[in-house]
């Protein structure tokens, strides 16, 4: 165990390109733009259909879900199949570890089954980092959500949706409403928006659902929905989980809706062309009014479609980076042996 295990940049290879996809923190705008542009190329511009491509033929991807999920898992599976990869999904929950097998033993066993990439969801923050430090060098890790830390593909599909509707991102004001404290999606969204140099990020919600230092993430905090929504271009609602009531963080869904629910009246405070987003699944009448969720400004269902394209893009990029790196190393070796031949020749000449 080395003293200084890597920071966020363990996800980049020697050429500074994506090797794993763990978090957006530490990535540059060009990494994000490459993902968005690649995703764009998978979508038919007229029909919005995503066609099947042979990019990952012969590659094996394992979806390891230590925490239940249907939506994220399904979109990952679809994305993998559209890339022609061999797909295996495992709901591990904690069953294997309960049998006494350690987390790493589980991982290494699956790795021995010839996986090229793991898509991992886990309830502990930092789990994807942890796994990426223990897989074999040729194996890639995609974070499908770790604890309250990050959900980078979700954030990227949100960026994709925003770009689709608003063009450039840098001139926008974005408001994120709801449970910032417990949300890995929000953390990743904030990082993505910051990297893309958005004009302003606001987070709106009660103090009990804010982390200790939200300002440290580069956002403006509002506890008043009306003030926070004023003149924003993008409204992102976050799902409120039931356990927030039982753990006494907020009194009731009704009260929450009164303070922070997105209604048509409130939405009118935003710019007239503002779009409404939600990572889903939505709680109608808790964080969002049905009229808004189904209204003309809502882009919630588009997000789901784009989620497939964005996940395809990240996986395709990672695998092509790996191929590029292998090629690069091969060339270096060949160059080195050519140099040796040169030296040999030179020596023969002098002799």
């Amino acid at each position: 165990m080395s003293a200084k295990l890597a920071g966020p940049n363990i996800q980049l290879n020697e050429l500074g390109k994506l090797k794993h996809f763990l978090t957006l923190e530490g990535l540059k705008a060009h990494h994000l733009t490459e993902i968005l542009d690649t995703a764009e190329s998978f979508i038919n511009p007229t029909t919005n259909e995503i066609k099947k491509v042979p990019i990952l033929r012969g590659k094996s991807i394992m979806n390891l879900f230590f925490e239940p999920s249907t939506r994220t898992r399904t979109t990952f599976e679809i994305a993998e199949k559209r890339l022609s990869a061999d797909v295996e999904s495992l709901d591990i929950q904690t069953s294997a570890t309960k049998k006494g097998e350690s987390l790493l033993d589980t991982l290494w066993n699956l790795q021995a089954m010839q996986a090229d990439m793991f898509v991992i969801r886990h309830s502990e923050s930092g789990a994807a980092h942890f796994f990426s430090q223990h897989v074999a060098p040729h194996v890639h890790v995609m974070n499908a959500g770790d604890g309250q830390h990050a959900h980078p593909t979700q954030a990227m599909l949100d960026m994709f949706t925003i770009r689709k509707h608003k063009g450039d991102i840098y001139d926008l004001t974005v408001a994120i409403i709801g449970d910032v404290l417990h949300s890995r999606v929000v953390r990743s969204q904030i990082q993505a928006l910051s990297i893309l140099e958005v004009r302003e990020i606001r987070v709106i919600g009660p103090k009990t659902l804010m982390p200790e230092s939200p300002e440290a993430m580069g956002v403006h905090v509002y506890h008043n929905m009306e003030e926070g929504l004023k003149d924003v271009d993008v409204v992102i609602m976050v799902r409120l989980q039931n356990e927030r009531m039982t753990s006494a963080l907020i009194p009731s869904e009704k009260e929450f809706f009164k303070l922070y629910g997105l209604t048509e009246q409130r939405l009118a405070l935003a710019k007239p062309d503002a779009i409404v987003m939600h990572p889903g699944p939505i709680n109608r009448g808790v964080e969002i009014d049905s009229a808004v969720a189904d209204g003309p400004q809502s882009v919630i269902l588009e997000q789901v479609t784009y989620g497939i394209a964005v996940r395809m893009a990240v996986m395709a990029i990672i695998m092509s980076n790996a191929a590029q790196l292998a090629q690069h190393k091969l060339e270096l070796e060949q160059q080195a042996s050519l140099d040796l031949v040169d030296i040999d020749n030179a020596m023969e000449d002098t002799l």
Binding site: A3, L5, L103, S125, P211
Partner: protein
Amino acid sequence: MRHIISNGRVIDPSQNLDKITNVYLARGRVLAVADEAPEGFTADQEIDATGKWVLPGLVDLQARLGEPGNQYAGSIASETQAAVAGGITSICCPPDTSPVNDSQAVTELLQRRARQAATAFVMPIGAMTQELEGERLSNSFSLKQAGCIALSQANKSIQNSLTLKNALEYNSTLDIPIFLRCEDTQLKNGGVAHSGPVSSRLGLPEIPPAAETAALARDLILVEESGVKAHFSQISCARSVELIADAKKRGLPVTCDVAIHQLHLSEMDLLGFNSLFNVSPPLRGMSDKQALILGVKSGIIDAIVSDHTPLEKDTKLLPFGESAPGISGLETLLSLLLKLVQDNAIELMTAIRCVTQMPAQIIDCQRGSLTEGSSADLCIVDPEAIWTLETQNMMSEGKNTPFAGWEFVGQVEQTFFQGRPVYKKSQA
């Protein structure tokens, strides 16, 4: 055996002594610290300590030894070896063993094993409540009779205020120090990292400072009412230092300690999710760290401990929040302390006092001093030696340290316990 340790710089805070002189040892005791040999003294062996420092053996108020119950992580034999390699000759071990040290049998077992190992003085701390469950009081008088030098709850602070009040009142008449680790488990709420900018960014469940300070404030009120002599273990927050300072100003018989790693590390070290930095209480903010250092400097914090917790490798090979908290710290206590001195954060005499005279005074034991007649426990330190901590060279079975790869100046060369050499640095 009679030894003379000659020409060393003898630093003994208990006598306010810091000068180059000789130390004479006979029959396991310090015979004299003087320039001239006592009349009739002939040494069997002379150790030339020219250019070296001679310190009383360190007294560590909190170090886990693995036994009983966790022998894979360490044994009394291995951990006392690690202790003396770090210059520590007296160790208090907390009661969170398995089984819990809430009975004479466990206390006696610990002492027996320590006597067999015979490398350091092991002082068991008894559990304040049975099984450390915080419900029924343990037989504290019997524990004291058996040899427990203090009572504590280890890291399992009593949540029920009435139980704590009763425990303090009952024990206040038994003349045994009470160690209190302050933590409100409800405010802790399953958290794993200090609530601050880093936990906000990483999404690690937060432990607010109030989890410590609110509990500390409650405990101070109950300590004041019961009149018990209380020692607060491993405080971690700036506000805690203020609360202790206030209590001392009011004349309360309270003392406190801090774990050495809190004076070097902070929440910033969590950025790579490295579980070696998972400790309890958690690494706090930079301002907390600064306040703790100032607390040591001003004497509000009385002692510095290793909070040594040897762990099996597997318990750290997990995502941060699932890993076991703790650092294997016996072998770095002194070196980390000297680093603070080298950085001009605290004075040498203060630093040494916090690991010798003060901890000994807190548990009322005649160690941590080189006064005439005291147990010949001492260490010889080469203040110029430059070394790098490598886990494979550690004596402790627990290799769980975030300080691997750190370079230190100053290293223990030789350690004496009760007049016998128990450690000598290998000449590699």
